[in-house]
């Protein structure tokens, strides 16, 4: 496997990389958002006069002095309505105003002078209180059943099982806390708009700005090559983006709006709260005969996103009988949105905990139970997996981690004042290959420029572009310049659904092949070409023919052709004959203090079956990063909603806990690296989300092994272990 340094590493560590907020066009003014301090109600009035008189203030926009934005028409994972277009408040922390001033500080200080009067209503802010009134999602499928011949219901199958368990598992709201807060810089030149905005795909803000500003996509240029983490929160285009663009248009000068850390918690969406009641039924030998999961997700009144949290129970283990249901609890809280491995991460916590509980009930090793129910085909569709080596993940992991040393009796292994437990769980995430277009330009300086409107959120995607193009073109990686995050380049795959490399990788290779053909054709046909009329070939960055060879850059310079440009499109995979999924196995050791109950993760191993690994260096970081986020999900993260007010009780970086370095043990990552040649010639399936799935379940299982306590409500904090 190749291990290549990030092509953008030097500019990032030296600070030369310009993120959205680092742009300062001439004449820039600064926007600062005003947010609501009630969760539901009507705004009666806003006194903006003191703010308007404050030093440096240029404009104060509110629902009573709005910037006109057209309704959103296209689906997005952000809100349904554009900001400031009416006086309704749907959640605490909603954008209700924008102050624009000559400096950021002036805008911020003026915003603090605005007072707002509300007719406040009691918000629906308790998920628990809303559970009895949970409803099937509008437009979704409420239930899915797969039953063996002669079986009339899932409960009948459960009742007929030798052994069964039923438990309810709950997960709190979580938020992404990416390192880079959201920012938008908008400037107009005539009727053309240039935008720098943090985004997981620059064509997404183009779509939203087109509809909300009432202009053509051709008038909008979004440029955002560097993204400081996303995890789903930069997929949707949020309120500040159209607002900032509209303010810049109204004021005739560029405007920049950067969200504060606190604003990111509410102006941007969060991962929904979920509850899953899982029943597993098995034969005495561990063969699953019934899997039932009734899943409920919170959903914001401000948008339609929820997690189909139970659905993973249909895809992971084989069972003759399967049942899943989906319901939502609508709440007056900020938008619910996608967050790393939406549905599957929470879904796996319940399923993987339940598998451990079933193993206990069966008196089986939990790893043996998983081996027993590994399935070569999708449990619902029956389609064979394109490439699945999960059993090898389990076996390699167990050997490498020392799983055989796990005590089957919980609470029996101690080290000083620490109770020690081992846990494991399956990692998995769905895979696909979307359509992607990539442009390759071979230049007369011997460099290749590879462009597409993809995004590198810190994942290493731009380095993947360089590696794959360099390989096809036969030139060193450092002679390839990847260009990502520019809406003027061809429509490559956005960074979402772990689908960047699986879609863009084949497209880069196609485009690079096409570029080779183009330069060969040029060499054979151009009137000034020394190869004219020869049988021309291309190898190792050179054009060859008639016994001569010349690097492509020299040839182009000789011919006076500055560059050869080609674009190629790799089509979407139809997925008709196979099912596609990545797999892996987590193993961890957790220690719990016998006095004060703190759970601490001491060791981690993740064995990964995700197809071809293009760059093991960045891939390892992706997997380790997912494990870190999974440890946070397991032990720390909990975005608390005040039931009376709908306010987030801990919406600051000090109070919303994510792991720090000392919380993270050495993380061992092993890639099996079997190409998935059914998905593409490249064989890469994608790894962005895989390793957070199963991580919380592995921790919960290790905590149980250490202490004998089964915590079914995330996060597993010390108060639950005292």
């Amino acid at each position: 496997m190749r291990s290549v340094n990030r092509e953008d590493g030097p500019v990032k560590v030296t600070g030369a990389a310009r993120y959205a907020a680092d742009h300062h066009p001439e004449g820039l003014a600064y926007g600062y958002l005003i947010t609501s301090t009630v969760a539901r109600g009507t705004i009666l009035g806003m006194d903006t006069a003191p703010a308007e008189r404050a030093p440096g203030v240029i404009a104060v926009y509110t629902p009573f002095n709005p910037l006109r934005l057209h309704p959103y028409t296209q689906a997005d994972t952000a809100e349904l309505l554009p900001p400031l277009q009416d006086d309704r408040v749907c959640y605490y922390g909603q954008v209700i105003g924008l102050v624009v001033a000559e400096t950021f500080e002036q805008a911020r200080d003026a915003a603090a002078l605005v007072t707002t009067r509300y007719d406040a209503e009691r918000p629906r802010a308790s998920f628990t209180a809303g559970l009895p009134n949970a409803t099937p999602p509008s437009g979704g499928t409420p239930e899915t059943d797969v039953l063996a011949p002669g079986v009339t219901s899932i409960d009948e199958a459960l009742a007929a099982s030798d052994v069964s368990i039923t438990e309810t598992y709950t997960t709190p709201a979580e938020t992404h806390v990416a390192m880079e807060p959201h920012a938008t810089v908008a400037s107009w030149t005539g009727d053309r708009l240039t935008v720098h905005t943090a985004s997981q795909g620059v064509r997404l803000p183009v779509e939203r700005l087109t509809e909300s500003l009432g202009i053509d996509a051709a008038q909008i240029h979004v440029i955002n090559p560097y993204v400081g983490g996303g995890f789903g929160n930069k997929w949707g285009t949020w309120a500040h983006t159209p607002l900032t663009a509209a303010a810049a248009r109204a004021l005739g000068r560029p405007v920049k709006t950067v969200l504060t850390r606190e604003q990111v918690f509410t102006v941007i969406g969060h991962r929904p709260i979920t509850s899953q009641t899982v029943s597993l039924g098995a034969a005495a030998d561990g063969t699953l005969v019934a899997v039932k999961n009734d899943g409920i997700s919170s959903k914001s009144a401000a948008n339609d996103f929820y997690e189909s949290v139970a659905d993973l129970s249909l895809a992971l283990y084989g069972s003759a009988n399967l049942h899943v249901s989906r319901k939502v609890v609508t709440m007056d809280v900020p938008a619910t949105t996608i967050m790393r491995a939406p549905a599957e991460s929470n879904g796996s916590f319940a399923l993987e905990s339940a598998m451990d509980e079933l193993a206990d009930a069966l008196g089986m090793d939990p790893l043996d139970l998983r081996l027993k129910n590994d399935t070569p085909s999708h449990p619902v569709s029956g389609l064979p997996w394109s490439s699945k080596h999960l059993e090898e993940c389990y076996r390699v992991g167990a050997e490498r981690f020392g799983w055989s040393r796990r005590s089957p009796r919980p609470g029996t292994v101690t080290d000083g004042d620490w109770l020690v437990g081992l846990g494991m769980a399956t990692a998995t995430f769905g895979a696909s290959r979307g359509e992607a277009s990539i442009e390759v330009r071979l230049r007369d300086d011997g460099r290749a420029v590879v462009s597409g409107a993809a995004a590198d959120l810190g994942t290493g995607q731009s380095t993947v572009f360089a590696i794959l193009a360099a390989e096809v073109l036969g030139i060193p990686v450092d002679r390839v310049t990847p260009v990502l995050g520019d809406s003027a380049t061809p429509p490559a795959a956005k960074a979402g659904g772990s689908g960047s490399t699986s879609a863009n990788g084949p497209a880069v290779r196609l485009a690079a092949e096409a570029a080779k053909e183009a330069v060969v054709k040029l060499a054979a046909e151009h009137e000034k070409s020394p190869f004219r009329g020869e049988a021309v070939t291309y190898a190792d960055g050179e054009v060859r023919g008639g016994g001569d060879a010349m690097p492509f850059g020299e040839l182009l310079a000789l011919l006076g052709v500055p560059e050869v440009e080609v674009t190629a499109t790799s089509p979407r995979h139809p997925r008709r004959e196979h099912a596609f999924r990545s797999f892996g196995a987590h193993f961890c050791e957790v220690r719990v203090n016998r006095w004060t109950g703190e759970p601490r993760v001491a060791r981690w191993l993740c064995v990964v079956d995700a197809g071809t690994i293009v760059n093991v260096k960045t891939a390892r970081s992706q997997i380790a990063g997912g494990v870190v986020m999974g440890i946070g999900q397991a032990l720390l993260e909990d975005l608390r909603i005040e039931p009376d007010t709908g306010r987030f009780g801990n919406a600051t970086m000090a109070d919303y806990l994510v792991p720090v370095n000392t919380d993270i043990p050495p993380i061992d990552v092993e890639f099996l690296n079997y190409p998935d040649t059914v998905l593409s010639d490249l064989g890469a399936r994608g790894i962005g989300e895989l390793s957070i799935v199963g991580a919380a379940g592995a921790v919960a299982n290790a905590v149980h092994n250490a202490t004998g306590r089964r915590v079914r409500d995330l996060p597993i904090t010390l108060d639950k272990l005292l």
């Binding site: 200080d109 004060t596 703190e598 009376d644 996060p715 010390l718 005292l722």
Partner: protein, 321 residues
């Protein structure tokens, strides 16, 4: 942040002369600047005291003397602290991050404001920030709040780890104002909230902490600061215990015990100390820790946790008993 005047005096009398009712002294700035940005405090004048001669870490016959402008990290690493008073060094090193400890002063640490989320969010009521507006923590988000020394007006914890260790060691603070100098035990310096949670201590307007004095305690070498929190670093305590024991032949002859993360002020536990002196078991002694506790909906676990923190410290210092 509101506009303010800024002054940089070079000696103490100048600093005290400049101070007005609406002044704030700036040392490390790690609390003050945050709170000014949040508009929790909006002083009309900020007086930078970093050039004042309030330095020095000196063991003297009447105890260890630490200048108020000494930085947390320097104090924690000083041999006159780490050897004779491990509980102080451990409390400091369990606080904040190295970057913050390199900035934050000892005087400022003792005066840092609570981390209560309502206090720090000006969109919400708070009796400590805006007297008479109410205390949403009583029925709101209160997992991190105090169980000891609370009132219906306020349940905010005192956030300093250092103060817990110093109260256990019966340290004093030296104060200097325009009217002169005075010295006061740190335990008397802090005020429980009662009906006036905005009055947190006995510091008078314009008065400075100039020095911390830790009296000699020969057996403080056997001391420990146990800090319990959800993550292993960079978080305030859910519960903490500063414990020192005088151990003879495995028996605890004397002890000092104070706890943090659970009280509205650093909380000395004389009843626990008495029980240990009387030869009661660790468990029996620790069980007295939460006497009089008034837990709220989200923090009842602290009643148990604070006892366990003490037990853990005692076990580490004196073995199981």
């Amino acid at each position: 942040m509101r506009a303010f005047d800024f002054a940089v005096p070079h000696d103490i009398d100048d600093a005290l002369g400049l101070a007005r009712d609406e002044s704030a002294f700036l040392a490390g700035g790690t609390t003050l600047v945050d709170l000014m940005k949040l508009e929790v405090v909006s002083p009309e004048q900020v007086i930078d005291i970093n050039r004042l001669p309030l330095h020095g870490i000196r063991p003297e016959p009447d105890g260890l003397r630490v200048g108020a402008l000494e930085r947390m990290e320097d104090v924690a690493r000083h041999p006159a602290v780490a050897g004779p008073y491990p509980v102080i060094a451990q409390a400091l090193l369990a606080s904040a991050s190295p970057q913050l400890r390199n900035m934050a002063s000892i005087g400022g640490n003792l005066l840092q404001r609570t981390r209560c989320g309502y206090f720090r969010d000006v969109a919400t009521p708070c009796n400590k920030r805006s007297p008479g507006t109410g205390c949403p923590a009583q029925h709101g988000d209160n997992r991190g709040h105090a169980i000891l020394g609370t009132s219906a007006s306020c349940a905010a914890t005192h956030p300093s780890d250092l103060a817990v260790a110093l109260v256990a060691l019966e340290a004093s603070v030296r104060l200097r104002g325009a009217d002169g100098e005075r010295t006061m035990p740190l335990a008397d310096f802090y005020l429980p909230p009662g009906d006036t949670p905005h009055v947190e201590n006995r510091l008078r307007p314009g008065e400075l902490i100039t020095e911390v004095i830790v009296p000699p305690l020969p057996w403080a070498g056997r001391s420990r600061y146990v800090k319990v929190r959800d993550r292993q670093s960079y978080e305030f305590a859910l519960a903490s215990a500063a414990v020192a024991v005088d151990l003879h032949d495995g028996e605890v002859r004397d002890a000092r015990v104070a706890v943090g993360g659970v009280g509205t002020v650093p909380w000395r536990l004389p009843a626990v100390e008495d029980a240990l002196r009387a030869g009661r078991s660790h468990e029996e002694a620790a069980a007295l820790a939460a006497a009089g506790a008034r837990p709220l909906a989200g923090n009842a676990f602290k009643v148990t946790l604070v006892q366990r923190a003490i037990l853990r410290a005692l076990t580490e210092l004196a073995g199981p008993r």
